[in-house]
């Protein structure tokens, strides 16, 4: 390991050191600067990723900070920074104390960074497990609410089983090729005939495991429970960065493998089921976070559609959508978090009239809903547009049509939130919190990203596509 090596993985080191610093500082001065240090670390890592161009990737470590990796590391870092900003006052109000929380967030980002930078299955797996592991803990972190623990348990059990699937899948792939490097293994997949059976089996196990992470039907069932049980900022993080990382996982594998029929059909089914089940189940949900969970399932169905249309530009579309989706969900859950005063507002009815009582948070929440529904000029629209363009170019007409129809259905439940915010009067005294400065800043940032990506998606799209050359 040379200085150059260290230099090349500097962002990862920054994140790791940041996590440790927060942890250590917590022992010295409990809960004082942890959020600030966390945010600074994350922003620093993000800036490093965006600014610094290493001379060459260093494959010997199994990780290479390619532009792809740096982009996603930066994205996840910034997401985490926003989450930390959102969490600070939320945690205070909810009585979640201690430096464990910010440190674990940093650790999760570290895992994501490793994952995005991996060229080898081992770090890839470890990154994935590391970040999932961080979330086991984060989901269960609210000790005041029994649901939080329950959600953590469910997430952990599912996650562990999925991890076993993933591990077994990787093992089969390794058995088939004798190499843990991603690229050669994936190239070998469709080299002959219909595909190497052992590799296919491995990929099958892998897919089943990753489906859990992305929460694709039928591995989606944990999602509503966990979203409902976990604290809102954690859900904001879980639904954005964690899912994003899982998509990154597939983005690292699929382009190298190519989209053989053996791979296409399972993805096709997952995408179809997710779009249909997610959107339908969300329709009459009464709990906002559960509703958003089902919506997340559906949204991931769209991302899967993009993934399986990779040859038509779908990888770029999927990456773009990850960014857009991150902004939208940060806005949505961020608004929920910043409105929380005492108990979280679970029931949709709790949001009645808040659009006028809390104009800023309500407005951001409404914007997020429109964005998730894919109404222009928001990132949700451009993202969906790119996905469907890719799908049609790849010839996935049936799935595209079904996707569009389910998108229509989905608008209903997004609108329900807006309806409650603006069209039903508040009952009794409004107990929602007024946003604090960090919350306002983070929500505003998310909103701006949603709008900017909705109106000028060009530069980001251009950049994202360049990642897959």
């Amino acid at each position: 390991m040379t200085i150059a090596d260290i230099w090349s993985i500097m962002p990862l080191l920054i994140l790791a050191c940041g996590a440790l610093t927060v942890l250590l500082l917590g022992a010295v001065a409990p809960g004082r600067y942890s959020t600030a240090i966390g945010v600074v670390t994350l922003v620093g890592a993000a800036l490093w990723c965006l600014q610094h161009t290493p001379e060459a990737a260093v494959p010997t470590l199994g990780v290479a900070l390619t532009p792809f990796a740096r982009f996603f590391t930066a994205l996840f870092s910034l997401t985490a920074a926003v989450v930390l900003l959102l969490s600070r006052d939320y945690n205070e109000r909810r009585g979640i104390r201690g430096e464990e929380y910010p440190a674990t967030v940093l650790f999760a980002v570290f895992g994501m960074g490793v994952l995005s930078a991996s060229t080898n299955f081992l770090p890839l797996f470890l990154g994935l497990e590391g970040l999932t592991f961080a979330f086991y803990f984060l989901v269960a972190i609210d000790r005041e609410r029994p649901e939080s623990g329950e959600a953590g348990l469910k997430y952990l059990l599912m996650g562990a089983v999925a991890a076993a699937f993933t591990a077994f899948g990787i093992a089969l792939i390794y058995a088939g090729t004798g190499a843990l490097d991603v690229a050669p293994a994936m190239h070998a997949l469709f080299r002959e005939g219909k595909g190497n059976p052992l590799l296919l089996a491995g990929l099958g196990f892998l897919l089943a495991g990753v489906a859990f992470k992305i929460s694709l039907v039928p591995a989606h069932l944990w999602t509503p429970d966990v979203y409902q049980g976990a604290p809102a900022p954690v859900v904001a993080f879980l639904s954005t960065a964690s899912k994003g990382a899982a998509v990154v996982f597939l983005l690292l594998l699929l382009p190298a493998a190519g989209m053989g029929e053996a791979l296409r059909i399972p993805l096709w089914g997952l995408s179809l089921l997710s779009m249909v089940v997610g959107n339908l189940a969300a329709l009459l949900q009464k709990n906002l976070k559960r509703m958003l969970a089902y919506s997340a399932i559906a949204q991931m169905g769209y991302v899967t559609l993009a993934l399986l249309s990779g040859d038509g530009g779908g990888y770029g579309a999927a990456a773009f959508y990850v960014v857009a989706y991150t902004a939208m969900n940060l806005a949505a859950f961020g608004a929920v978090a910043s409105l929380t005063e005492g108990e979280e507002f679970g029931d949709m009815e709790d949001y009645r009239g808040l659009g006028f009582e809390r104009p800023f948070q309500g407005g951001v929440l409404a914007l997020a809903m429109f964005a998730l529904a894919g109404i222009p000029p928001t990132a949700g629209f451009t993202g969906k547009f790119f996905i469907f363009a890719a799908a049609l170019r790849r010839g996935e007409i049936v799935l595209a049509v079904i996707g569009i129809l389910t998108a229509v259905v989905s608008v209903y439940y997004y609108l329900r939130v807006v309806v409650n915010l603006y069209m039903r009067p508040a009952e009794g005294e409004v107990v929602a919190a007024r946003g604090t400065l960090p919350e306002t800043v983070s929500l505003a940032a998310a909103a701006v990203v949603i709008l900017v990506l909705g109106i000028f998606p060009g530069p980001l799209m251009e950049f994202v596509i360049s990642l897959f050359r």
Binding site: F121, L122, F125, L126, E129, F133, Y136, F137, A140, P146, E147, G149, E150, A151, G152, L153, K154, L156, L157, A160, V161, A163, A164, F165, A167, F168, I170, A171, L172, Y174, A175, G178, A179, L180, L198, P224, D225, Q228, G229, Q285, K286, N287, R290
Partner: protein, 102 residues
């Protein structure tokens, strides 16, 4: 290699399935579910070790070791959670944790 890789794989997949069965069947007991996961992970390790032997590279063994490490981390957190929840609910029946649903 003392035996064909396929045999190792078959043993591994049987183990894996047994672990899966354990996970799926023992809904009444969190501990048993965790044990099932351990069995599955062991099956994965077996594949790694077998493949490492087959291909003659150490990566597989390293991976197996890492799995072991991960497992220990996971089990410790999982058991902590089990203890934590048991303190609240006095049960280790996984299905009794169903306040979140719908």
């Amino acid at each position: 290699m003392i035996v064909p890789l396929a045999h190792v794989l078959i043993l591994a997949v049987i183990l894996f399935i047994l672990g899966l069965v354990c996970v799926l069947v023992w809904r009444a007991n969190l501990i048993m579910i965790l044990i099932g996961i351990e069995i599955m992970l062991n099956a994965a390790m077996l594949v790694f070790v077998g493949a490492a032997g087959q291909w003659g590279v150490a990566d597989g063994q390293v991976f197996a070791l890492m799995i072991m490490a991960i497992t220990s981390a996971e089990v410790s957190l999982a058991l902590a959670l089990v203890v934590y929840l048991h303190r609240r609910r006095r049960t280790v029946n996984a299905d009794e944790f169903n306040s979140l649903r719908g």
